[in-house]
């Protein structure tokens, strides 16, 4: 019996049962409301439907909470119970190995009854796992049904002619809406907590200062964790990207908002936005396949010039310059559309003022519009830098893996994001300094981009208030 439950795909069944219970509760609530109204539903404080909704809500909510908790924690509880029952020699293997062992058990268990391997211990563990899972499911379902029953019972007792069912239902809806909004907070908390605690564990092994100020990075071998080369690579590539994106994005925003005819604008703006819609992995491919070879041959050409030393540029097959150029292209629409917004927010009266003084269009733009839009433009550039720092796929594919500090843009540099991907791709154990260093890097990345974003958003807000 327990084993059968362990094998069943219960989640869909549960959904069905819950929905059915909700429907039944709804109809009971509705009919009893109609009954208490004695033929004139207008006597009721709330429409009969709301009595039904109220009852259904009171029935489903407790069961749903219990089942959500179970789906989050149920399996890990089963696993830890199983782990404590395994023989000592397996428990001695360490968390990582044992975790994988239990993974295999769980996988085997889901194959259904009769999938034996011949290994007695493994098969017994599988059986035990399946029955533990079944037991946990029965307990969870029992608790859920009990919760639903209790909810139904108490809610049923409150129904009466004067019961303000609609107000209660609306309170429930508002609570649900609030919880949805709170998920955004929970996400941030989750990010901060996971990054922070994993980073703390990392810093328990590697001193903070040697991480932030160290210049040697060999995380794959678990030897050196000095992140300066990574920071250098990140900012170098972001800088190169901004060299492309800032002038092109700004100038095109100015042209589009001040010079272009509405027709031209309506054609070019979507084209620029198209650049923003292209997935970063596509940019990465473009950088790797087309731009990196171009950069390399350019570097080779520069080296071959008679007045340059032959080893002036590194001319690597992947390079910071290739990644930076393509990232710059990716960021152009970001800069241009944000700047476009702030430029358009500059009141027309200021422009009129300048024109009336006899200023030309470019003088108006350079001396009146841009100074007025400056805070907004700076904020847009900050957001763009933050985007460049956090961009992953382009640098993973086209920037390289070598942690080095080199001012030569044609050399291959590595970045924070590249290292996070390199450290966490493939089978990873969660306890090594190598893996934890990825979280420490992620923490740095999060803090830096958060600072940029906070400042930028604040400036933008101030700016908007000024002109609204």
């Amino acid at each position: 019996m327990l084993e059968t439950f362990g094998h069943l795909p219960v989640s869909w069944l549960l959904f069905a049962v819950l929905a059915a219970a909700g429907f039944v509760a709804f109809f009971i609530g509705r009919t009893s409301a109609v009954a208490t109204a004695q033929g004139s539903t207008a006597r009721l404080n709330s429409q009969p439907n709301y009595h039904g909704y109220f009852l259904a809500m009171a029935t489903i909510a407790p069961a749903a909470v219990i089942l959500i908790l179970y789906s989050l924690f149920g399996e890990s509880m089963v696993r830890s119970q199983l782990a404590s029952e395994l023989p000592q020699r397996i428990r001695d293997l360490g968390t990582m190995e044992m975790g994988q062992y239990i993974d295999r058990i769980a996988e085997n268990s889901q194959r259904g009854p009769g999938s034996t391997t011949g290994n007695a211990l493994f098969d017994a563990a599988t059986g035990r796992y399946t029955s533990l899972l079944g037991l946990s499911r029965i307990i969870a379902i029992g608790l859920a049904l009990f919760g639903a029953g209790v909810g139904f019972f108490f809610a049923r007792r409150r129904l009466s002619v004067n019961f303000r069912a609609r107000a209660r239902v609306e309170d429930g809806i508002k609570l649900m809406l609030f919880l949805c909004a709170a998920i955004a907070i929970l996400t941030t908390l989750g990010i901060v907590a996971s990054l922070f605690f994993e980073a703390l564990r990392f810093f328990a092994r590697v001193p903070v200062l040697s991480f932030i100020f160290g210049t040697e990075w060999n995380a794959q071998t678990g030897a050196d964790f000095g992140a300066i080369p990574l920071f250098f690579g990140t900012f170098m590539i972001a800088f190169l990207a901004m060299l492309v994106a800032a002038p092109i994005g700004l100038l095109s925003a100015i042209y589009l908002s001040e010079y272009a005819s509405p027709r031209f604008r309506s054609i070019v703006k979507p084209i620029l936005e198209l650049l923003a819609g292209i997935p970063t992995v596509v940019y990465g491919f473009f950088a790797l396949q087309f731009v990196a070879p171009l950069v390399r041959s350019f570097a080779v050409w520069v080296n071959s010039l008679p007045f340059t030393p032959d080893t002036l540029l590194a001319a690597q097959p992947t390079s910071a310059l290739a990644a930076g150029l393509v990232m710059g292209i990716m960021i152009i629409p970001f800069v241009s559309s944000l700047s476009d917004d702030v430029i358009n927010a500059v009141p027309q009266t200021l422009r009129d003022g300048a024109y009336a003084m006899g200023a030309t269009k470019s003088e108006t733009v350079k001396q009146v519009v841009m100074p007025a839009a400056l805070p907004g433009v700076i904020a847009a550039l900050l957001l763009a830098v933050s985007r460049a720092i956090g961009e992953t796929m382009i640098v993973v594919m086209a920037a390289g893996q070598r942690a080095q500090i080199s001012p030569d843009p044609t050399s291959d540099l590595t970045t924070i994001t590249v290292q996070i991907v390199a450290l966490l791709t493939g089978d990873t154990e969660f306890d090594s300094a190598k893996t934890l260093s990825a979280f420490a890097l992620g923490f740095v990345l999060f803090i830096v981009t958060l600072l940029f974003n906070l400042i930028a958003l604040r400036v933008v807000q101030k700016y908007r208030e000024k002109y609204e």
């Binding site: 508002k174 909004a181 955004a184 092109i248 100038l251 997935p279 992995v281 473009f286 594919m397």
Partner: protein
């Protein structure tokens, strides 16, 4: 202000020479500034064009590929071992089919005493697993066993690439006819050219390639006469020394045509050998190499062989992931937006949520991957590489986008609608759900689709939750191991063989088609339901 240069003839008191001089400078600055703007836009547009053109031109060769056609009897003892007629057993018998086709090639091209290297080269024309579709087709029609059938298999990636003009640069030259030939197949053959023709074109082509080449390796020249191919060991102005390479073992006859094929790179520097090229040319002459639409790209799951790899599993994986993402992000996003826009009291908690959502929208996507790895996989013990976890991570990632878009849509509904509903005695909740939300629905939907499009193209966070695993089967459900399109693109782009490049570009096209479709739907929705208040 695009005013023409002032004309001194018609000047009134407005223009003096000095003012004109100064004005000229100012107008030059104006023109210059305008040009900068046009230049910037031109660069951006050119970058987009370069990106699209380079990818489309790469991809175009991947949508077509070369198939090798066999006219062959599917002997029962080869394809249906032990006389079985069980379709499953036949479908699984890849090696049987493989041997059958390999033998047929060997019988045609190699003598009994061929060495292992030659045999390996010949069998390298197609990969073992390429016969899988043939085996499956046979299994589906068991009555095909024992009968003569025409079957085709995909050529190996390098051969395919060669036929599409890749691998090495080449030049075909017509050298006229054989005047006379001496020597024997085993020892070397000397062919004199017909009067009036000479080898100057050949020498010129070789010289040309040699000049371009970076190293000093000499270009290779192959000569085809009749059904036999030779490699050139030397030549004078009207005589060529040849060594037998492949094809019919007969000495050339006078008046047969001579085709020369000059390959820019030496054999050691390419992935396709001289013999393989010769065989390919012979098969082509027989009409046994056909171009076909590369349906594998859409029907197969991933493979380690480029010619067998397809996007089917990744497309299904992407759809499953998007399903989870949509189920999380769209309802939660809309409800959160409704709360913030319609119900939230003006207090610090609401401010906090607002600032938080705006910031969350700008958090690098990879950080969400770290969240998924630490919380969903490590803390909650969810499995790696599954669409469920991928969908949850992407759902949280696009949640702020959906919230912001939905709020904008709600904001655009004029307050008069709300007051009208409240005025007839509806509660706040009723006014929102009965009147405001339906009016904002098109905007919300558009925003949601754009959010989903962003999630569809997202790669980095999925790498961290193990969706980069090699998945050779189409996933059945959201808890099956799978990969998604952008991750597949990333993986293919790191493949070592050249054939992965067009393959990757083709997968990008598939992804872009999906994105274009989603955006088109969003645009159409916006056009159709756009309401101006």
């Amino acid at each position: 202000m695009n005013s023409p240069a002032p004309n001194p003839e018609t000047k009134g008191t407005f223009v003096t020479d000095a003012a004109l001089k100064r004005l000229k400078k100012r107008h030059a600055a104006e023109t210059r500034f305008k040009f900068y703007g046009q230049f910037a836009i031109a660069i951006a547009v050119l970058a987009l064009i370069a990106l699209l053109v380079s990818i489309i031109s790469q991809a175009s060769s991947a949508f077509q590929r070369n198939m090798l056609v066999f006219d062959i009897t599917l002997n029962a003892e080869d394809v249906a071992p032990n006389g079985t007629d069980d379709p499953d057993a036949i479908a699984r018998n890849v090696s049987g089919f493989n041997l059958l086709l390999q033998d047929s090639l060997r019988d045609q091209f190699l003598p009994e005493d061929a060495d292992a290297s030659e045999t390996r080269q010949l069998f390298g024309l197609f990969t073992r697993l390429a016969v899988l579709p043939v085996a499956k087709k046979t299994a589906a029609h068991v009555d095909m066993v024992g009968t003569q059938q025409t079957v085709s298999v995909a050529l190996a990636d390098d051969i395919d690439l060669y036929l599409k003009g890749g691998v090495t640069e080449r030049k075909s030259i017509d050298l006229g006819q054989v005047a006379s030939a001496r020597g024997a197949i085993g020892d070397g053959i000397y062919v004199s050219l017909a009067p009036g023709t000479d080898t100057s074109a050949l020498a010129e082509a070789i010289g040309g390639f040699q000049e371009q080449s970076l190293d000093d390796s000499a270009p290779t020249t192959l000569i085809g006469i009749g059904n036999t191919w030779y490699s050139v060991t030397g030549f004078s102005s009207n005589e060529i020394a040849l060594a037998y390479l492949a094809g019919a073992r007969v000495a050339p006859d006078p008046s047969q045509g001579i085709r020369a094929l000059v390959l820019a790179q030496a054999e050691a520097n390419r992935t396709v050998s001289d013999r393989q090229i010769a065989w390919t040319m012979l098969l082509k002459d027989e009409g046994r190499i056909r171009k076909a639409f590369n349906s594998t790209l859409f029907t197969n799951a991933d493979s380690t062989y480029p010619e067998l790899a397809g996007t089917a599993a990744a497309i299904v994986g992407s759809l499953l992931t998007m399903l989870v993402t949509a189920l999380l992000a769209i309802p939660v996003g809309i409800f959160a937006a409704v709360y913030l826009e319609e119900f939230a009291p003006k207090n610090r908690m609401t401010d906090l949520i607002e600032v938080n959502i705006n910031n969350l929208a700008a958090v690098p996507s990879i950080v969400f991957g770290l969240l998924g790895a630490a919380v969903f996989i490590n803390f909650f013990g969810m499995p790696r590489s599954v669409p469920l976890v991928g969908g949850l991570v992407l759902g949280l990632l696009v949640l702020p986008t959906v919230i912001i878009a939905s709020r904008a849509a709600l904001k655009s509904v004029p307050p008069s609608i709300r007051t009208a509903a409240l005025g007839v005695g509806a509660s706040k909740t009723q006014s929102v759900f009965h009147h405001v939300l339906p009016l904002a629905a098109p905007g919300i939907l558009t925003g949601s689709i754009i959010g989903m499009a962003r999630a569809l193209g997202e790669t980095a966070p999925l790498l961290l939750i193990g969706m980069v695993a090699f998945v050779a089967e189409v996933p059945d459900g959201p808890t099956d191991e799978s990969t998604v399109l952008p991750v597949l693109i990333y993986k293919w782009s790191t493949g070592a063989e050249r054939a992965w490049e067009p393959q990757t570009a083709a997968a990008i096209i598939v992804l872009l088609v999906f994105l274009v479709l989603m955006n088109l739907i969003a645009i159409i929705l916006r056009r159709r339901f756009e309401r101006r208040w």
